[in-house]
Symmetry: C2
Subunit: 342 residues, 2 copies
């Protein structure tokens, strides 16, 4: 004989009745409030399992003003999201970190102005408690729009525009660039070029800055020795070919992403240059699906993307709980991983 007199999912009322306590006490047990007697605790727990009770999220959200969901927003032109395995990686890392924290992940992919409007509406609509935003490109409207929202946001990397008040988790891209380039210098290389990412992304700018700091390159050097590879495999190939044509005596290159480095290696093969004998190559990312599998295996700068996302999630959860955060901006270290290419 069931305590429920009505159909459908059991409510807290049903649980309370079955446990012989009030709804308030049942609620206290569910939210593990300290002031509940062991007996009540046990009775309620038993009733919950017996009834297969699941709290109604909507009702809970209505009173707590918490949805238990977080948006993960990628603002990136369409093709990128397919071609670059980095994104799959980021999405997966976010899914895992958020699942571990028992918050649900609502994925927003922003490709067009309409998508932007929709995302803005969505974020303003109170569907989520906070957001993780990946919007690296210069001119992206999202960060500006997001900061008007009364919604905690943590950025991946440094977005463009004023940083004041923003929370972000970045990697030490410049430091990584220095690491890569100094490694090449230590190998005795003299003509060191760089295939850069698109310079409308801070990460690309910073990695280039690292190369420049280590080489002490002049403006003319930069124009001569660097080429934008757009963070794509094809772009890396094209940029490498261009660099070789312009600087035939190039003996090393710092390529600002593993995906581009894979393309660059192809271009070097096509040009008949041996790696690392003729040209040493250092990548960036230490992407597990790329760096160990290139020919030769790629020496690269390791950045732990999973770790970055984990930090972002931790940071956001702290903001949601209104706990003090150590710093608004976290910068994670990078490290050199030596393999065959340099």
């Amino acid at each position: 004989m069931s305590v429920q007199s009505h159909p459908g999912r059991p409510t807290l009322e049903d649980v309370a009745a079955k446990a012989g306590v009030s709804r308030a006490t049942a609620s206290r047990v569910l939210n593990s409030s300290p002031r509940v007697s062991p007996e009540a605790q046990e009775a309620v727990t038993a009733a919950v399992t017996a009834l297969g009770y699941q709290p109604n999220q909507a009702a809970r959200a209505l009173v707590t003003r918490r949805t238990g969901a977080v948006a993960v927003v990628f603002s990136e032109p369409e093709p990128k999201i397919f071609a670059d395995p980095h994104f799959a990686w980021l999405i997966r890392a976010a899914a895992r970190s958020l699942a571990d924290a028992d918050v649900q992940m609502v994925l927003l992919l922003v490709h067009s102005p309409e998508d932007m409007a929709r995302a803005r509406r969505f974020l303003a609509g109170g569907h989520v408690d906070g957001a993780l935003v990946f919007a690296p490109h210069k001119g992206d409207q999202l960060p500006a729009a997001a900061r008007k929202l009364p919604l905690p946001v943590v950025y991946a990397g440094r977005p463009w525009g004023p940083l004041r008040g923003l929370h972000l988790v970045d990697h030490d891209n410049e430091g990584g660039g220095v690491l890569a380039t100094e490694h090449l210098i230590a190998l005795g290389r003299k003509r060191i070029g760089s295939v850069t990412g698109p310079l409308d992304e801070h990460s690309a700018v910073d990695r280039l800055a690292g190369w420049r700091a280590a080489t002490g390159a002049s403006d003319e050097d930069v124009a001569l020795l660097t080429e934008d590879g757009g963070f794509s495999r094809e772009g890396g190939k094209r940029a490498m070919a261009a660099l070789l044509a312009r600087v035939p005596d190039l003996d090393a290159v710092f390529v600002a992403s593993d995906l581009m480095a894979d393309g660059a290696l192809e271009a070097l093969r096509a040009a008949g240059r041996r790696v690392p004998e003729d040209v040493a190559v250092v990548g960036f990312d230490d992407h597990p699906a790329i760096a160990p599998h290139t020919t030769p295996p790629l020496t690269t700068v390791r950045q732990d993307t999973g770790d970055q996302v984990k930090h972002m999630v931790t940071h956001l959860l702290r903001l949601l709980r209104e706990e003090p955060v150590r710093a608004r901006r976290e910068v994670l270290p990078t490290a050199l991983v030596t393999r065959g290419s340099a």
Copy 2:
């Protein structure tokens, strides 16, 4: 002077007050109920914009018993989700289709038994109105678990286990396999092999069945002329190499995915075979990031993944609205796309 006397987001009450109507009428306008006078309509709309009103989802969900969210579940071993661009494509297609329908997408990635338990709990928890499930592997517990839930679910492709009562959108994989193989036969090829996907996926089994139907292969032929490439680039390369070693006079091969075909082409190059002169190759997927860019460009069987996901979403939404669905199972057509490889 604001009508609101309290801080925070405006409520429907505020809108109603500002528009000079009751909360009920304001609600009717928001839900575009037919029986509202034009004046009331206008007044409410004006008040909404003036106040920047956004309905509280939780409150709405509480009474309508609708969350406005749908889960998208991928049950797939971990490495796959990185390496295969197909997934990024699926995720993007789902994001777009769901966004168009104004429902939010909650992404669930299931890699481990713990993930499974969590996903099950989540789906049972009433967080979402329905689910799109991608769980192609034999032995996956998810479909069995999901069918116990009082939750509309639409599957991508044919899951294993009893199909009774399941809603799914599949591609005509067998028909595609026939198409590919008959094309090779029409080219006059005599020794036609196949690199298959993992045979714990129905799509792989069906594509192989298509090849078999077209070639009329015996069981011994199957053992000799086919090799599992695991739907990965590396696997395709390895399987192709094995096939070449076993059947030196092979003059054509149907490779059951573009990613594997890319690997197979590499293996053929390494073995010094010309494509299509010595060995003709037909892939499967017509993946836009792969098929047009292989060397030579890949002749392949087109399946429109975006379309599949769109059908899944439409089907699910129909289920959610409790509208009649034409059929529980939809099978989308495939078509041959001729490029350079065959």
